[in-house]
Amino acid sequence: MSRHEDTVPSGPDAALRTRALESLLVEKGLVTTERIDEVVNMYENDVGPLNGARVVARAWTDPDYRRRLLEDGRAAIAELGFSGREGAEIVVLENTPEVHNVVVCTLCSCYPWQVLGLPPGWYKSYAYRSRLVREPRAVLKEFDLHLPDSVEVRVWDSNSDLRYMVLPERPGGTEGFTEEALVPLVTRDAMIGVARLDSPST
């Protein structure tokens, strides 16, 4: 884990600087402690991959919704109540047996917060940012995703203000599942595109 820049221990200075910054902003009336708490609370408890999973499960079970989702991601996601503070446009990429989509942000770490929450450390890592566009298959193998040569890999580099989310393929063996039963099968990694979803082992 030593290369993982997000797990590098930070100096005590960052903690002190942050505390000083917050106290000054509060003193100046530019923000309140409660507002900061609210934001943190939102990303810790309300906004996360479960949002995306609900979108995916709906798309798997409602062909009209799927169509709307692929046409205008933001509007279809807002139907489920996930507009997010960012309010960014979302483009949903449909995985098929022939095409596998995977998302990266080489210049920064842009990520569809409103449907997936805060990005994991590896998504922000220099290794992922630098390598995915050049050798997606090699990177996906490190995620234990071995795609056959017949599948085209499409890497989407989120360089504008659009955000990308992958609509994974519905796993086999879920034909009779309700929307609610499908939700827990959908993983964050599958919605980034570094994983496929397995059949539930029932």
């Binding site: 820049e5 960052a14 590896w122 997606p136 360089n159």
Partner: protein, 223 residues
């Protein structure tokens, strides 16, 4: 800016390492930095990303994600005139000496709350400018060889390469610090452009793969 942040395609960063049972935050201060950055309605002059991209490259690489955010926010608040470096240093010195020191509060907390509540973050909607897209799906296009000093969304690895228009996203504001030569307005057609891996990486490319990039029309030239 052809800076250290523009790392698409680079070698040397090792394997992608995943942390097992990764928490959302590794330190309490990271929580606060996220909260401060999202909740404080003071725009960062020049943009938050610009501040991060202009960090000294060695500093950039050795800083964590939230350390970069903290750096960018502090610089932005100073640049915006919301606080001074001296105020921050003084406050840090106080808290270093007396970690449980009480710090001053605002005299009118209700006014602050009301003020913050009145500022909604307006979702960025596609611009409705009357601009006609020049390209259609399937058109071949060339990414221009631009090297602006300021912020740009055109990564190095795609410059001078030929791709194909894959999708039209409507009219969006170009985010570059400066308009590319020949452009007269920020509202521009935005496309997904497909670049074959072979075109980007030559004989070293993996087979059966392509990269899609969001390209404002000002980045492109007809082939």
């Amino acid at each position: 800016m052809d800076g250290i942040h523009d790392m698409g395609g680079m070698h040397g960063f090792g394997p992608v390492v995943r942390e097992e049972d990764e928490p959302l935050f590794h330190h309490e201060w990271e929580r606060r930095v996220l909260g401060i950055a999202v909740a404080t309605p003071v725009p960062v002059p020049g943009g938050s990303r610009n501040n991060i991209e202009n960090m000294d490259p060695a500093h950039y690489l050795s800083s964590t994600y939230y350390e970069k955010w903290l750096h960018s926010r502090v610089k932005g608040l100073i640049d915006a005139g919301a606080l001074t470096a001296n105020e921050l240093e003084t406050r840090m010195a106080l808290l270093r000496k007396r970690p449980d020191a009480e710090t001053p509060v605002h005299p009118d907390p209700d006014g602050v709350r009301a003020d913050l509540a009145s500022r909604g973050t307006a979702p960025s909607t596609p611009s409705q400018a009357d601009v006609r897209p020049q390209y259609q799906e399937g058109d071949p296009v060339l990414a221009l060889n631009l090297h602006p000093e300021g912020h740009t969304r055109l990564p190095r690895y795609v410059r001078g390469k030929t791709g194909t228009i894959a999708r039209f996203y409507g009219i969006h504001d170009l985010q570059d610090a400066e308009l590319p030569r020949g452009c007269v307005r920020r509202e521009q057609p935005l496309y997904a452009v497909r670049f074959a891996s072979r075109e980007l990486w030559g004989e070293c490319a993996e087979a059966g793969s392509a990269v899609y990039l969001d390209m404002w029309e000002g980045y492109l030239e007809p082939v």
